[in-house]
């Protein structure tokens, strides 16, 4: 196990012990597994974001993409499109939106944080223009994915989907040429260009992957909540980036482990569950997540010996 993964693992253990002390109900396996369902959508975005940040880029639009997909899918199904077709269109739409980001970043050579800041507003704006303040119901038969279990009746389906995807993309990141190229570009994109890596194509596919994950997560959120609204998952990008960075992925790119991201996501879930059990308000939980992000990066900055006046520039 890499050193970067020990940090989230240690914190996870601490959070589990603290959770157990906060409430006697915390240490209930079924309860813990059930509460993962609330965080699986975040987890799917974390898988995509791990690749994006490993590349030295950032995708701020992931949560807006998710919201637009969930609105569009719900609208399509409401119009009577066959569920399978509607869901495929939804996931395809998510991928397309990711590709739009990727094209602007890779081929128009624009900084990803600005492109995705623009599409953060744009995608959610489209969802809002599409839906207004109304909410659209998801077909009854497709609702409640969080109440479906694998045979055995303990492991909820969303968690299983997340584990399978995280494992698959973890292998892709660590063991395939594609993953190695992503890391290489993140470490030094000019050197990668000279090493005959098709940088633009990899950047494009990583943003497409981030969009694909947002698409799957969007459909999943529809099923879990039973309704789609344009303002669902607002601000989720903060949590996604926090989990990714906490998992040991370097914010400057070139270093990433999916195991770390996975553990960090479980950590965030455990923190939310124990804060929820301790009746801490959502807004205050938001502050805590923000503080965790800032502290992780600040500590990272101190330890990596940030250059004097270390203005390492933005994630570009």
């Amino acid at each position: 196990m890499k050193r970067a993964e020990l940090v989230p693992l240690g914190l996870l253990a601490a959070a589990m012990i603290a959770g157990g002390m906060l409430s006697p109900h915390f240490w209930d396996l079924r309860y813990l597994l059930d509460s993962t369902s609330l965080h699986v959508e975040t987890g799917l975005l974390v898988i995509g974001m791990t690749f994006v940040i490993a590349l030295g880029q950032i995708d701020l639009s992931a949560a807006s993409n998710l919201a637009l997909v969930s609105c569009a899918t719900a609208k399509l199904l409401q119009m009577g499109v066959h569920p399978a077709v509607g869901i495929c269109i939804g996931i395809g739409l998510g991928t397309m939106l990711g590709i739009v980001n990727g094209l602007l970043v890779a081929y128009a050579n624009l900084p990803s944080f600005l492109v995705t800041l623009g599409t953060l507003a744009l995608y959610r704006g489209i969802a809002q223009a599409l839906m207004g303040a109304a909410s659209v119901k998801f077909p009854e038969s497709l609702c409640g994915i969080d109440r479906w279990y694998l045979p055995g009746g303990i492991v909820p389906v969303p968690f299983a989907v997340f584990v399978v995807l995280a494992a698959a993309f973890g292998v892709a990141l660590a063991k395939t040429t594609f993953g190695r190229r992503v890391i290489a570009i993140g470490a030094n994109s000019t050197a990668s260009e000279y090493s005959a890596i098709k940088v633009n194509r990899i950047v494009l596919s990583v943003f497409a992957l981030s969009g694909l994950m947002a698409g799957i997560a969007g459909v999943m959120m529809d099923s879990r909540l039973g309704v789609a609204r344009y303002d669902h998952a607002r601000g989720l990008e903060l949590e996604v980036i926090t989990a990714t960075v906490l998992g040991g992925t370097s914010i400057y790119g070139g270093k990433a482990t999916m195991t770390g991201s996975f553990l960090a996501l479980l950590l965030m879930a455990a923190v939310h569950v124990s804060l929820g059990l301790a009746n801490v308000k959502t807004e205050i939980q938001l502050t805590i997540i923000g503080a965790v992000l800032v502290l992780t990066l600040a500590i990272g900055g101190v330890f990596s010996g940030a250059k004097a006046g270390g203005l390492a520039g933005r994630a570009e």
Partner: protein, 340 residues
């Protein structure tokens, strides 16, 4: 860096050209006004123009700070939360001390803002955290603190002193049926101040130099840390003051909504105003015109009864369109903005 020097001396030295960012923004403003007027002449009625005059100041003050940060090759997405936090703190101060002099309130607003801004600046300039991630974190911290300090309660209009609301209701003079509110005068004073800071001081010169190439600037003995942290501190101070202006304009401060979305509006305004998103180039006048443009668009949209639901889409589209133009400009030098 030398390329930029001719520009930094002052806007008068900017190479002339049709694609100068200021000209582009001015043309955009006129186009929007003309299109809106054709659709509905009420757009140019005194009442809607007065709305524009009241909409510009808040955005302008925030955008001025945002512009300085963007010139330094950074970005500050926490401005909206800083406006909210400062607004709530000021509101609570007014509740406890109803007779608080305005000068003290203004000082407190600027002071609080400086502290918030210094936190961002330290993270970015000393700890080398990428600006967008650092300020994304502080954005949620500041917003959460707003909830914690206010206990989720709104500051009501009877807690806001009349002397403060007068800033937006009264003004020194009128032009025909247009009333110029004090708020606008104050914002223009900040505009002049930031103009001088950016285009007429050594600090401004250094900021532009760092924005174009921070490594080269460092090698030339430019104090990178002090200069950049200054930009974030000023941005924070202006956002803090905008919290006071928010209370004046709306007459109440809600912890959930105060300042929400100002980060996107200010970035859009600065980018539309021709500021180079990669840092190192831009003009304060451009940022001003960008603010006027966005405010005109939104007042226009509401006059034309286009619902508020479309606002977010417009911010996003404006940012992406401006970025795209920028990318095109990089490909065809003929269209390149002169300030590069």
């Amino acid at each position: 860096m030398g390329v930029k020097l001719s520009f930094v001396v002052g806007p008068a030295a900017v190479r002339s050209g049709v694609w100068r960012p200021e000209v582009r923004s001015a043309v955009l403003i006129l186009l929007v006004l003309a299109a809106g007027w054709l659709k509905d002449p009420r757009l140019l009625s005194p009442s809607s123009l007065n709305t524009v005059l009241l909409a510009v100041p808040l955005l302008l003050v925030v955008a001025l700070g945002q512009m300085l940060v963007i010139v330094s090759r950074g970005i500050d997405v926490s401005v909206g939360s800083m406006v909210g936090l400062a607004g709530i703190c000021l509101g609570l101060m007014f509740r406890s001390f109803p007779n608080l002099p305005m000068s003290l309130a203004a000082g407190a607003a600027l002071g609080m803002g400086v502290v918030f801004g210094l936190i961002n600046g330290l993270l970015v300039a000393r700890l080398a955290v990428p600006p967008v991630v650092a300020t994304l974190g502080t954005m949620s911290i500041f917003r959460g603190l707003t909830f914690i300090i206010s206990r989720g309660q709104q500051i009501d209009s009877n807690d806001i002193p009349n002397a403060l609301t007068a800033w937006s209701l009264q003004g020194p003079f009128k032009i025909g049926q247009l009333s110029v509110p004090w708020l606008l005068i104050i914002a223009l004073a900040f505009f002049a101040l930031v103009f001088v800071l950016a285009h007429r001081t050594v600090w401004g010169l250094r900021l532009f130099a760092i924005g174009s190439n921070s490594e080269a600037a460092r090698l030339r003995a430019v104090p990178v840390f002090a200069t950049v942290i200054g930009a974030y501190a000023i941005c924070g101070a202006l956002a803090g003051f905008a919290g006071l202006m928010y209370a004046s304009k709306f007459g109440f401060v809600n912890p959930a909504t105060a300042g929400l979305g100002l980060e996107l509006m200010s970035i859009a305004a600065v980018v539309v105003g021709g500021c180079d998103i990669r840092g190192g180039a831009g003009t304060v006048i451009g940022a001003f015109l960008g603010c006027v443009f966005l405010s005109t668009v939104f007042v226009g949209l509401s006059v034309l009864h286009i619902e508020a639901d479309w606002q977010q889409l417009v911010y996003g589209a404006v940012i992406i369109a401006a970025l795209w133009l920028d990318a095109l400009a990089a490909k065809w030098p003929r269209f390149r903005s002169a300030s590069r």
